[in-house]
Amino acid sequence: MSLAAAIATRDADALPSRRDEDWRWTDLRGLIRTVPAPSAPLAAEAIEPGPFAGLAARALTLANGRGDAAVEIAADQVVALDVVSQGDGSHAASLQVTVAPGVKATLLETYRGAGSYLAHTALAIRLGEGATLERIVLTLEDPESVAVSQAEVELSAQAELVQTTVTFGARRQRLETRVSHPGGHAKLRLDGAYLLAGKRHADLTTAVTHAGLHGETDQLTKGVVRDQARGVFQGRIVVAEGADHTEARMGHHALVLSDHAEVDAKPELEIYADDVSCAHGNTVGALDEEALFYIRQRGVPEAEARALLVEAFVGEVIDRIDHDGAREVARAWAARKLGGRGAAPGMGTDRDL
């Protein structure tokens, strides 16, 4: 079942549903009775500058499913990809991103929109030998929207992908990354942070397949949910037979701040090689009341003390972003969501967490 096919044929029966094991916590079939009509094209003037405007040398836009189909990054540079959705229709887009061998690039990716749209974005990202890509994904979808982004990443030997996803969810949102990891001293970092309030839902799904010797994967995802929000983490690392000397670490940690919020986590390590070093950790809990009292005893009001603890919790992921400008944008968005301290550029009037 695929969302892209469902949008193309307007066949709701083709939507992924809870019967698909991989989609059981992000059921689209149960939510959508009829696939909306195709979205109208968007005029370039109707699109406000995104949060990363000004940080990139090259800017790409996918607006209601329309835009470039392929981009090749052949020199060290920062590229912004702005995926914009407006209205109540449905649309799908696909983009191929190729990073040439030896090139060091940064991809600043944003997903934003207004309306109850149904959107799908498919990315095929290929890193040549020795190429480095830092991919930062920031999403601010409409609370009534359904949005799915699926990236298929192919690493070459000695390539490095450093990815951080920071999301505030949607009515239903899935951000999926599948990485084919050849080993050969290629490195992968797959980080994520989800901050969800209201009835928002975010699903961070990753699947990494280590196929060769000497591969490294380091994954850290942290989430905070409150109200009736729901966070989903599905992390899968497969170490194939013969992929010896693979080093893989996976961590997922979530804070549940209210009784009706929910986190579903499925960390999976499947190891078929003999000589590997793999570890994973998964925790879901509440804020530390003792720490909260300690902070309040120093004079900080309760709401601010809670925000400080939550910000520190998520900060561990944001601190790992290498690109200085993008890290500060991500931090400002998260802080704005958590404590409401000051506006962050490009954020519009979205509600606080």
């Binding site: 720490a291 300690y294 005893q297 900080v300 009001p301 601010e304 400080l308 520190a312």
Partner: protein, 248 residues
């Protein structure tokens, strides 16, 4: 002046403080000594408003203001500072950020202007140097990876930067070696002033060799059962708490 009258408090339904009465005049340092389970830590938590510590009768005022009706952060802004027996580790919040947030929250609550970044850094450098602390430690997550002695020093640093009116020191000597004990005590002594009072809660007399109290009180089974001068601490060290346990 801290004035506690006939204070009763329960924790989890069990009465721990059973009619505690105590006065600490402004400018004085008083020690509270007592056996384990006497209610020493409970007293410090009741005065600071920790959840789960329920006052069932009595009162506690600071300079005539009712402390018990206020939120923990309001009490802090009015000058109540508790040095924790086991200071918390807060990963992801650098000590400098933490202290500045606290200082500005207190100032805001009192209607004072916020401290500027340069003023704050100057103050933090001065105060940490006085406590022989490595300034770089203040850039790391609060108390993360610190030794017991370093954590207590961090408490005293916070105290000296927040300049409270009432210091509550809960077993500040626990986990300290002699050198750390001396540095921490010097830090506390430097804060002694005619405008400030302190309540030093301790099981052992050792700390009182360094922080000399004006008065010593014995807390046993939830009440003050004896009060006296500094010599009372020495007597307790010699003879133990047994006779007060019986008296209670």
């Amino acid at each position: 002046m801290l004035k506690i009258q006939d204070l009763h408090a329960t924790v989890g339904g069990a009465e721990i403080l059973k009619g505690l009465t105590l006065e600490v005049p402004t400018g004085e340092v008083h020690a509270i000594m007592g056996p384990n389970g006497a209610g020493k830590s409970t007293l410090s938590y009741v005065l600071t408003g920790r959840e789960g510590y329920e006052v069932t009768a009595g009162s506690a005022t600071l300079d005539g203001e009712d402390l018990l009706a206020q939120e923990p952060n309001e009490r802090a802004a009015r000058g109540v500072f508790l040095s924790f027996q086991y200071p918390l580790e807060i990963p992801g919040v650098p000590a400098l950020t933490f202290i500045r947030t606290a200082l500005n929250a207190q100032r805001k609550a009192r209607g004072e202007p916020e401290i500027t970044a340069p003023q704050f850094l100057k103050l933090a450098r001065e105060k940490s140097a006085a406590l022989k602390m490595d300034f770089d430690m203040l850039k790391r997550g609060l108390n993360v990876g610190f030794s017991g002695g370093e954590k207590k020093r961090m408490e005293i640093l916070q105290m000296s930067m927040l300049e409270p009116r009432l210091l509550l020191l809960d077993e500040t000597d626990s986990g300290l070696d002699i050198d750390a004990l001396r540095i921490v005590s010097e830090g506390v002594n430097a804060l002694r002033s005619p405008e400030r009072s302190a309540l030093v809660i301790t099981h052992y007399q050792r700390l009182l060799d360094y922080i000399k109290p004006d008065r010593v009180h014995v807390l046993s089974a939830g009440r003050i059962v004896a009060s006296g001068g500094p010599e009372l601490a020495l007597e307790l060290e010699r003879e133990g708490y047994d006779r007060y346990a019986r008296a209670a």
